[in-house]
């Protein structure tokens, strides 16, 4: 009887500490960080575009309002710009370097470029708006929309910008920002359904004595072992290998799930850890007694795996 009581107590203790039985804590999906910024031409400094042109300010404000209406908070571009100046991240005055430094320092996963141009002709004045969203790490385009206002005989360009964003096109009413956000949402829906895309680059340490054409103790080439791992672990077996040489193997697109098997957020960093765990233990025919050393570096959506 005493033994039965102890057994019940033990069982109760085990069950009460089990999350699976008493319910898991709610998991909040990690959201992408999005920054809305002005488009700057090659010779333009992104730091001054907003100050110099009210049309940009109106257009950016409308785009940010669109995100706000969807309950999504974006990274403040002006705030990041000021923080960047304080932190002295702009080590170069080259416009393209300034833009890159700003995007990197902001931590944005996605940046939305807003371009606003005004045109004058004999028919009047008009404004053209271009909205583009890009993945900050892969450069993948997530949404593109263009709008142009009617030609009007006034020079209130801020009104023309608003008209370009909300206008009639025949029988169709165009709400450019809503349209733009709907396109982005379609891409997000695809990510939720089919996994997010990461880029994985396998390379060799400078001191490595082997290359990817060396055979492993299982008889496969090292490049095949790498390929097999991605083949087995890409989400829904969805991946694209874009390059393989003696010195590197590149997968431009590997899909990974948003959640792991326990329903927790699964990030590129976790995937990199899994790659490292999966490849450790590989031995080469030339030196079967020592395992390959694997290190990883993750920058946003790009994973660098270095073998030594």
């Amino acid at each position: 009887m005493k033994n039965v009581s102890i057994l019940f107590l033990l069982l109760f203790f085990v069950l009460s500490t089990s999350n699976d039985l008493w319910g898991q804590e709610e998991v909040q999906q990690i959201q992408p960080r999005i920054m809305v910024m002005p488009y700057a031409k090659k010779d333009q400094d992104v730091r001054t575009v907003l100050e110099d042109d009210i049309n940009f300010r109106v257009a950016i404000s409308k785009v940010k309002e669109g995100f706000d209406n969807r309950g999504f908070t974006t990274i403040d571009f002006v705030g990041r710009l000021k923080a960047g100046e304080v932190d002295d991240i702009f080590t170069s005055d080259s416009p393209s370097d300034v833009k890159t430094a700003l995007i990197e320092a902001s931590g944005a996963d996605i940046y939305v470029e807003v371009e606003a141009h005004t045109e004058s002709s004999a028919s009047g004045n008009s404004a053209r708006i271009i909205l583009q969203a890009f993945d900050a790490f892969t450069g993948q385009s997530l949404s593109n929309k263009t709008g142009i206002s009617h030609f009007m005989r006034h020079d209130q360009y801020d009104l023309l910008v608003e008209q370009a964003l909300n206008r009639k096109d025949g029988d169709t009413k165009i709400s450019m920002v809503e349209d733009f956000l709907n396109s982005m949402q379609s891409k997000f829906d695809d990510i939720v359904e089919n996994g997010r895309t990461v880029k994985v680059i396998f390379k060799l340490d400078g001191n490595a004595w082997f290359d990817f054409d060396y055979e492993t103790t299982t008889g496969d080439y090292l490049s095949d072992a790498v390929y097999d791992w991605i083949h087995e672990n890409a989400y829904k077996n969805n991946y694209v290998q874009t390059g393989a040489s003696q010195l590197s193997v590149t997968f431009d697109q590997v899909r990974i799930p948003l959640r792991d098997k326990r329903g927790r957020n699964f990030t590129p960093y976790r995937f990199a850890r899994d790659i490292r765990s999966g490849l450790r233990g590989i031995t080469l025919e030339e030196d079967p007694d020592s395992e390959i050393s694997v290190s990883r570096d993750v920058r946003g959506g790009t994973i660098y795996i270095t073998l030594q």
Partner: protein, 155 residues
Amino acid sequence: MNYNYPLVTVLLLSTALVACSKKIGYLQTSEVKFLDNPYSGTVTVESIGYGDQIKEAEINAIQKAFQTIIYQGLPAFSGLSTPMIPDRTKVDQSILERFFSRNEYSEFLTGQEDVRVLGKLKNPRGYKVSKVVTINYNSLRRGLEKKGVVRKFGL
């Protein structure tokens, strides 16, 4: 008493057949026409509804306006050209059934005009009506997000 048994049998059978026959229902159309985007986040549409009575047809028209925005989208208005729920098989149907059966959609109606009777129907018997409504689609989207049938913007 003499009964004409064959005649009675035929009459009874005919009555049973009529009683068992299915009533031809109304077509489930999406006759919803975009009219205007009066304020940011709102849309005015004209919707065609069908019903045995005018009131039923009016409710049908209002529900169709919402169903079109939610399931089909409005091609003439780019802000709503993509449906809020592209694939209804992937969401909890019971929530949406309650949304319509308990008239929960009415809180997102910000304006409506009087119903117009377009005509009487013969088969099935009923009415065809037109109804103009203004819907706050931003609030509608947020309401459906809260119910968990529409995903919030993002992942």
